[in-house]
Symmetry: C2
Amino acid sequence: MTALTVVGGGIIGLSIAWRCVRRGLRVTVYDDGGDNGAWFAAAGMLAPAGETSFGQEALTGLLTESARRWPGFAAELGDDIGYDRSGALDVALTSDDLAEARRMWAYSERPEPLTASELREREPALSPRVRGGAFRPGDHQVDPRRTVAALRAALGDAVVAKRVSTIPDGPTVIAAGTGTAALTGLPVRPVKGLVLRLRGEPGLLRHVINGYVDGRHVYVVPRADGEVVVGATQEERADTTVAAGAVLELLRSATDLVPELAELELTETVVRHRPGTPDNAPLLGHWKDDVIVAAGHHRNGVLLAPVTADLIADLVRTGRPDPLLAAFTPGRFT
Amino acid sequence: MTALTVVGGGIIGLSIAWRCVRRGLRVTVYDDGGDNGAWFAAAGMLAPAGETSFGQEALTGLLTESARRWPGFAAELGDDIGYDRSGALDVALTSDDLAEARRMWAYSERPEPLTASELREREPALSPRVRGGAFRPGDHQVDPRRTVAALRAALGDAVVAKRVSTIPDGPTVIAAGTGTAALTGLPVRPVKGLVLRLRGEPGLLRHVINGYVDGRHVYVVPRADGEVVVGATQEERADTTVAAGAVLELLRSATDLVPELAELELTETVVRHRPGTPDNAPLLGHWKDDVIVAAGHHRNGVLLAPVTADLIADLVRTGRPDPLLAAFTPGRFT
């Protein structure tokens, strides 16, 4: 059997490699071994309806399918990746924010609406100012850093610390995130995001919070160990500057929703770049000859890891693309 | 001639040691060599009237005398410590803030009042919202980190990396900041302060800004190299947590005054502890036997370094305290 090379050891490349190893393939992953990937910033919200825009039906289908596969993926990977099913709350601060949230609900599978007092019953730390929201029991979370660590551990020596500047010979999967553009010429661009990490005593919050705050969107993701992830900005920029104003906006929005967050320690300000594409849906499938591409997952890399891994592993093995991949061919923009 | 030991290599201990060496004494400074001192956070505003409260006449006299000595101290120490005479602007955001600023002006040597448009003429980056302020041509600034580096370089091998837990034998100056309490039992307490450092292109601001912003006080200190120091919180706490809410308040106040600061990079969030005393004036003079104390400078360590160094060096040499020291005897609380 031929060996497979995976270029890129972010959450997508590692997940594909892991699935391929499970199916008996010999795999080598090339990665620089660092934390430059978008996964290092990602909060790990698994929200299939929350992250898509109007008119992206194929992507919504893929997100939903991957969310369905996450419990099994997490169970196979082990207990230590922070997979949590407590669900998410949409929380709107002002009546304008509530109107915007309702506009989003009309598009997605309608979540269970909650009054302000019902919200605070579920989440007592919410500001008394919040106007309303909804419960999304199906929105789970996972810790992307622990997921990558578990994948690295599961793959062991198959992950080789190496920077790759040309596509290797033989069957290859390019899963290099924003680096995919330089390797292939495909249109993957960096979309800058700033994410904060706070730390306090566990128990302040129970749910992932999707906040609508004075016209801005912020998420607040509490981990069981007391870490709270606050994100994220989104800018069409390639620089890595932690802008003072971006930190201010995230902290202001988060503390407007949950005032007690002000007491927590600010432990990290992390900038990473999401790999965006012209339609912000991923590039998944054969690109040329022996080369498959799995990149451009934009805001959805963590959520899409299980379905991407399964479908690409099948494609590697059988050579036949699953119908779910039809909308995501790497060559669709040329 | 007997050798002198100085315990503590912050800006006070180093300045005393340097002055003593200049006067021909043999000096050893014991310090852990790190950056735990309050100087590492300090912005380096040399504002003799801006930092005292009502009723601290003796301290105001000492601050004024030290400000007078700073130009000579800086000239002797070299060009590289960022001593800058551009002056400071008091800037009030709201009419309530302007009333508070005026209350402060009535106490100090009255600065030159400026209208909002006069302020923005001097400092075009100020928010159009500012209501008024004043110019303080005599308020200078220095870079405390570069000052400490210059003092360390000037002292060379006289600075010995050593943590001291008991008072050494022989003539000794205790200049250990908040560590003075453990060495002597004198009432020096830690007063927590958070200071931010931003970085951008040089030239956004010309003056030190003392801001009065919605009832809060914030300072914004621009350096020639594009660094901008924003401070400071003040809390009676000994912990080193960078609280999210404190970062938020400083960023909000600073960008309310100077909106373009939002574009700068947030490069540091630093917590250090000012050494406070029951009256928040320093402890300066003989404590017992061969031991002199020079500690507890609270918010004024950088400003008070030259006069402290001169007066303590004189005291070491002559054994007779200068009359300026009379109000600051270390034993005044017992």
